[in-house]
């Protein structure tokens, strides 16, 4: 997708694509019953909390649909392709209280535990309705990946004979394990973050009496936040990196520059630069020192997604640093695809060849080179520098001599 296209062109194109999909599948979709293969995937809305809409996501497609709901597989794909997956998922909804315990919830949990896509059938109260209006109005940077049609469910059945994931089973049946510890344990065993957030969302993790359904949007941030907070403790005794490092990557109209600064004390800051279609810019940022963040981040789930990517990178190298993430969001990011693109974008930047610098000034110059606002303006927004410049450390005085 070329950046010379206007945002409206992109949106029109996506909408045309969507209408074409509805046309091709019209027979299947204009019915009160749908058969297909769930990736497996469930969605929990947040409106009406603590009574929320819960249900499976099911496309009118059979076979291996895993890619439809696995952001870890989406890197390098364009906006159209990702939306094609997402819009094909029909969302069935059942209203449940978040502390509900029912056979229906259990069968959604069974399906979520499956290692492979689950063939199933959904019977709707009425045929699914397209949320074209919602697509048109979609706000930038929703945390949740969008999807297409939805309808209230009358009933559903899934063939969950496929093997369950042993790691997930263990977490599910351990009813004395806190949700936080379960998330960390699953992560350590290599379960994808997107999978862990789904388990949390559908109430499969935590101490038995505390298990609850969690809206998908919140479950994603809770997972990124919990796992990365734990990883931050892991790097505490690591050695600092030696040079200033800059890593970059761009996809889907998002430009990432990650600056890793040699430091014995961990800190993390993320700066977001928004460019609207009229070329106006806005900058927002959030910062934490080694004691962590004690309020919800002003830039929401993006913050935790980037923090996770950065800290898992430091853990894998056995190093410590203080980190600045600059994210520029250009108008080509016409439709929000979910917070996964921040996590995967930052991970990809860190996998690529990094540039090394001897000093901070040159590292920042390079990091700001492709950004739409000046280095001076970016620096003026960075909190870490003023926080550190204004407060001495006790270790500065260890070798101090009064004469």
């Amino acid at each position: 997708m070329s950046s010379t296209q206007s945002v409206n062109d992109i949106k029109r194109q996506l909408e045309a694509e969507w209408i074409r999909f509805l046309g091709i599948n019209s027979a299947k979709l204009h019915s009160t019953s749908l058969e297909g293969s769930s990736p497996p995937s469930v969605f929990v809305g947040r409106y009406g909390y603590p009574k929320v809409k819960v249900g499976p996501l099911l496309p009118p497609v059979h076979g291996d649909t895993s890619v439809f709901d696995k952001p870890e597989m989406w890197l390098g794909k364009g906006l159209e392709e990702i939306l094609r997956y997402r819009l094909a998922l029909v969302r069935g909804t059942i209203t449940m209280k978040v502390d509900e315990k029912s056979r229906q919830l259990e069968s959604l949990q069974d399906m979520t535990m499956s290692t492979r896509p689950a063939e199933g059938q959904a019977i709707f109260e009425k045929s699914p309705a397209a949320e074209i209006q919602a697509l048109r109005k979609a706000e930038l940077d929703s945390e949740v990946t969008p999807f297409g049609l939805s309808a209230p469910l009358k009933s559903f059945t899934f063939n969950t004979l496929a093997a369950s994931d042993r790691r997930i089973e263990n977490a599910y049946y351990d009813t004395d394990l806190t949700a936080a510890k379960a998330m960390v344990a699953l992560y350590q065993q290599g379960v994808e973050v997107s999978r862990i957030s789904k388990l949390l969302s559908i109430g499969m993790l935590g101490i038995k009496k505390d298990r609850k359904i969690v809206p998908t949007r919140w479950s994603i941030s809770a997972t990124d936040s919990t796992i990365s907070a734990w990883l931050v403790r892991e790097i505490n005794n690591n050695q600092s990196i030696d040079s200033f490092e800059v890593s970059q990557f761009s996809h889907l109209g998002n430009y990432y520059s990650l600056v890793l600064i040699p430091d014995d004390i961990w800190s993390f800051e993320m700066l977001e630069i928004w460019i609207d279609k009229n070329g106006r810019t806005a900058i927002a940022s959030e910062y934490e020192g080694p004691e962590g963040l004690n309020h919800p981040p002003s830039i929401a789930g993006a913050y935790f997604a980037a923090r996770l990517a950065v800290v898992e990178h430091l853990v894998s190298r056995g190093r410590k640093a203080s980190v600045l993430v600059i994210r520029e969001i250009r108008p080509e990011y016409a439709l929000p695809v979910g917070v996964w693109q921040i996590r995967e974008g930052a991970r990809e930047a860190l996998r690529r060849q990094k540039r090394l610098f001897e000093d901070l000034g040159n590292a920042l110059s390079f990091a700001c080179l492709n950004m739409s606002v000046s280095k001076a303006e970016i620096i003026s927004k960075i909190k870490a520098f003023s926080v550190k410049a204004k407060q001495a450390k006790i270790t500065d005085f260890v070798n101090y001599s009064a004469d």
Binding site: N236, N237, D264, I265, W266, G289, P290, E291, A389, K390, Q391, A392, K393, I394, T395, D396, F397, V398, N399, Y400, S401, A402
Partner: protein
């Protein structure tokens, strides 16, 4: 290996645990024949606590080697807080050195066994400082000064002159200033070798002061211009609780 530390009351442990909890989540104590000590910094390395608790301050103390034991400070506090003022408290290590045993007795006997955590190996050096000004206050008076400034500011400037010390702060909503002179209530001593002025984070100061003030005693504030400050909490039976705080570089 023998390690037994018995006190007539849990109050010293409560003050120590609560002081440490203002800086870190996990604490490693070191016990030697001389007594129990702790030293640690907050994760930002802005503040440091140094505690020395000599063997003679205990009702009974035995330790024939160097023992390090690490605890999650909130879990440790929770158990200590179960003891009433007049309960005797005995702390020992389990045979395998993986658990801490806490016996609380005063007729009614309780024993907790707490799992120890891996203790951190790193040692924390003390800053080398000489102090030009010293202000000794009751903990109540010091806490009041801090709270009075904290309503408008996140930082406190201390300006010590020979017969007068001024505490001030400035924030978006306005300024605060408090003057204490020799003879002011709560001011026990003011000794100024050289006029000193410096600024410190109130968050750190008020947390530690609130944590220890219930133990009574007095607090000595020592500092020099633009240098770290040291609080010395003098509470009965613990020979030294020192709290160091690095200065703000600008106001």
């Amino acid at each position: 290996m023998v390690f037994i530390a018995r006190t007539k009351s849990p109050e010293e442990w409560k003050a120590i645990a609560s002081a440490i909890s203002t800086l870190v989540d996990e604490a490693t104590f070191e016990a030697t024949a001389e007594g129990i000590s702790f030293r640690g910094m907050d994760p930002s390395h802005i503040a440091l606590i140094d505690i020395q608790w000599p063997n003679f301050a205990f009702e009974r103390y035995e330790c024939d080697t160097v023992v390090k034991f690490g605890v999650r400070i909130d879990e440790f506090s929770k158990l200590i807080k179960r003891a009433d003022k007049k309960d005797a408290l005995e702390i020992t290590l389990g045979e395998d050195q993986r658990t801490l045993h806490i016996r609380i007795s005063n007729g009614y006997k309780r024993e907790y066994k707490m799992l120890l955590i891996e203790s951190s190996a790193s040692s924390t050096p003390l800053p080398k400082l000489s102090f030009n000004s010293k202000i000794v206050l009751t903990p109540g008076a010091f806490d009041k000064v801090l709270s009075d400034v904290q309503v408008v500011s996140e930082y406190i400037s201390i300006d010590a002159k020979s017969s007068r010390v001024e505490f001030s702060g400035r924030g978006d909503s306005g300024d605060a200033s408090i003057a204490l002179e020799s003879g002011s209530e709560g001011l026990e001593e003011l000794a100024v070798q050289e006029e000193s002025k410096a600024t410190y984070s109130l968050d750190y100061l008020s947390k530690i002061t609130k944590a220890i003030s219930t133990a009574g005693g007095s607090v000595a504030v020592e500092f020099s211009s633009k240098m770290p400050l040291r609080l010395e909490f003098r509470i009965a039976n613990v020979n030294r609780i020192h709290f160091y705080l690095a200065p703000r570089v600008q106001d």
